[in-house]
Point group: C2
Chain length 300, copies 2
C-alpha cells in the first residue's frame, strides 16, 4: 500500500484526521476549498494541491471528507474533480456521511475508470478525530478494505467492514437513528423528572447501569442538566444526517415515524437559531412545549 | 431492624424476591390473592397469612409488590388491608410500579397511623429478581431507607435513595421513558437496515461500542434479529407503565410526544394479541407499517 495519500476536506473532522496520517508516517497531499487550511497543513509537512484533479494525478489513494452528498459529487465527479486525474488501480475512500445510493452511483462511475471506492463514514466527533479514536464503518470490496486498513487505523479504532458499497453509509445512518432514539428518551425523561421535582443527577446514577442505560444518558445526560450545549456534534449536522435517513427511507418506501418526528424537532431548533448548539439541545424543543427548563434549581 | 417481614404479592417478581429474603435469614409471613402461591412459599419456610390485615398485625415491616395502583390501594387501604392491622412505628415498602401521586397519598394515610412508607420500585426483570440483582429506586425518608437497607440488599444490588416519597416511582417512570426511547431507536434502525439489505449482526457490532450504544441495543437487538420475543418484560406491563407515565405527565400538564406515540404503538401490539410478547415486539408494529420483517434472510 502506497504511503502517499491525497486528502480532500480539512474541516473540523478532516484536519485532525489528516494530521494523524502525517503522524503515522504517510505522505499527505491536501486539497481544501478554502486554501488557507491546506496551507496550514502544508506547514506541518503536507503538500498542497490546487485541485482535486491535480491531487488525484499523483495519489493512488484519495480520501474525501466533506459536508454532504453534493460536495462529494463535486470533488469527485465534476470538472477538475478526482475522476479526471485518478489512475486505474487507485482507491477513493469517502469518509463523509452521505446518501448510500449516491455512494453506489459514485462507486459505479469510478469503477468505469478502474478505480475502487470504499465508503467509510466515521463516528466519534472532533474529539475522536483528534485522538485517532474514531469508529469507522466501511462498505466496499473486502480485499480493498484489507489493503486500506493501515490507513484507516491511523485515524480510528473500531474499524469494521460491514458489507458492499453503500453499506458503510447505511450503518452510519442506522447509528444516527439509534443515537436520536436514545436522545429523545433522555430528553423526555429529564423533562418528566424536572417537572416532577426529581433530583436529576441522582436519577441518572440510579438508572444508568441498568436496562435504561446508554452512552447518551451517561455522557450527554449530565451535560444537559448543566445546560452545557457546546458541541460536540452540531444540531445542523444531525439534521443533515436525519435528512439523509429520511431520504434513503423514502427511496425504499419505508416509513420511520419517530425518526421523522425527531427530525422535525431538530428543524424547529434550526429555525430558532440553535443550529450550532450540540445535538442534545433537542431538550430545548420539549422545554418550549412544556414550559419547564431542565436543571433550573427553582423547580427542584 | 426486625427479621420478620410481611410479604404481599407472589407473582413473577414477588415470589423469587420473597425466596431471597428467606435465603438471607429473614422470617417471612406471606399473603397472596391466589392462596396456592403462599402455600407453595410456606413449604419453603414462610408462614401463610389469610389477609393483609392479619399479616400486618404481626410484621413491623410489610413489603407489597402487586400489579398496579388500584392493587396497592386495595391491599394497603381497603377493608382487611394492611392499614387495619399495622402498628405505629412500622414500615411499608411498596416495590410495585405505580403512580407517584397515589404513592404520596398512600404514604400520607399511613403516616396518620404513625407508619412510614418507602416506594421502592425495581428494574431488572424476573432474572434480576431470581439472582437478587434488581436495581431498586427508593423514595421516602432517608433514615427509614437506611434502616431498611439490609432488607433491600437481600433482593437487589444497585439500591439508590433518590428522594422523598413518590420519587422512587418518578425515577422508575423515567427509567421506562429512557428504555422505550432506546427501543424505538433500535427498532427503527433495524427496520431501516433490513430494508437496505444490511447485515444486521455486523451493523450492531460496528456501532454498539460508540455513541449509539445502549443496553437495549446490545441485549435486545440480537434477540430481535433472531425474532426471539420471549419475555423478559411483557408488552402488557410496558404499556401499563407507559400509561402511568402519561397519567403522571397529564397531572403535571406535561406533553411527552414521543413516549405517548410509543405507548400507542404498544397499544396496537396489545390489540393484535401480542400482550404477552417481550417489549421488544415493538418492532412488529413498525414491520406491519413498513411491509418488511427484520431478520428474514430473503431480503438480506
Amino acid at each position: 500500500m502506497s504511503k502517499k495519500i491525497g486528502f480532500i476536506g480539512l474541516g473540523i473532522m478532516g484536519m485532525p484526521m489528516a494530521r494523524n496520517l502525517l503522524k503515522a508516517g504517510f505522505e499527505v497531499v491536501a486539497y481544501n476549498r478554502t486554501a488557507s487550511k491546506a496551507e496550514a497543513l502544508a506547514r506541518e509537512g503536507a503538500r498542497k494541491a490546487d485541485s482535486p484533479k491535480e491531487l488525484a494525478e499523483e495519489c493512488p489513494v484519495v480520501i474525501t471528507i466533506v459536508s454532504d452528498t453534493p460536495d462529494v459529487e463535486a470533488v469527485i465527479l465534476s470538472k477538475d474533480g478526482v475522476i479526471e486525474g485518478i489512475k486505474p488501480g487507485s482507491v477513493v475512500i469517502d469518509m463523509s456521511t452521505i446518501s448510500p445510493r449516491a455512494t453506489q452511483d459514485i462507486a459505479a462511475c469510478l469503477k468505469e475508470k478502474g478505480v475502487a471506492m470504499l465508503d467509510a463514514p466515521v463516528s466519534g466527533g472532533d474529539v475522536g478525530a483528534i485522538k485517532a479514536m474514531l469508529s469507522i464503518m466501511v462498505g466496499g470490496d473486502a480485499e480493498v478494505f484489507e489493503r486500506c486498513r493501515p490507513i484507516l487505523e491511523a485515524m480510528g479504532k473500531n474499524i469494521v467492514h460491514v458489507g458492499a458499497s453503500g453499506m458503510g453509509q447505511t450503518v452510519k445512518l442506522m447509528n444516527q437513528i439509534l443515537l436520536v432514539g436514545c436522545l429523545i428518551g433522555v430528553v423526555e425523561a429529564l423533562v418528566f423528572g424536572q417537572k416532577s421535582g426529581a433530583d436529576l443527577e441522582k436519577a441518572i446514577s440510579a438508572v444508568k447501569g441498568g436496562a435504561a442505560g446508554s452512552w447518551v444518558l451517561s455522557n450527554l445526560g449530565p451535560r444537559i442538566i448543566k445546560r452545557d450545549f457546546k458541541p460536540g456534534f452540531f444540531t445542523d449536522l444531525m439534521q443533515k444526517d436525519l435528512n439523509l435517513v429520511m431520504g434513503a427511507a423514502a427511496e425504499m418506501k419505508l416509513p420511520l415515524p419517530v425518526t421523522s418526528f425527531i427530525n422535525q424537532m431538530y428543524y424547529s431548533l434550526q429555525c430558532s437559531d440553535d443550529g450550532k448548539s450540540a445535538c442534545s439541545a433537542l431538550v430545548k424543543v420539549l422545554e418550549r412545549i412544556a414550559g419547564v427548563e431542565v436543571g433550573q434549581p427553582e423547580t427542584r
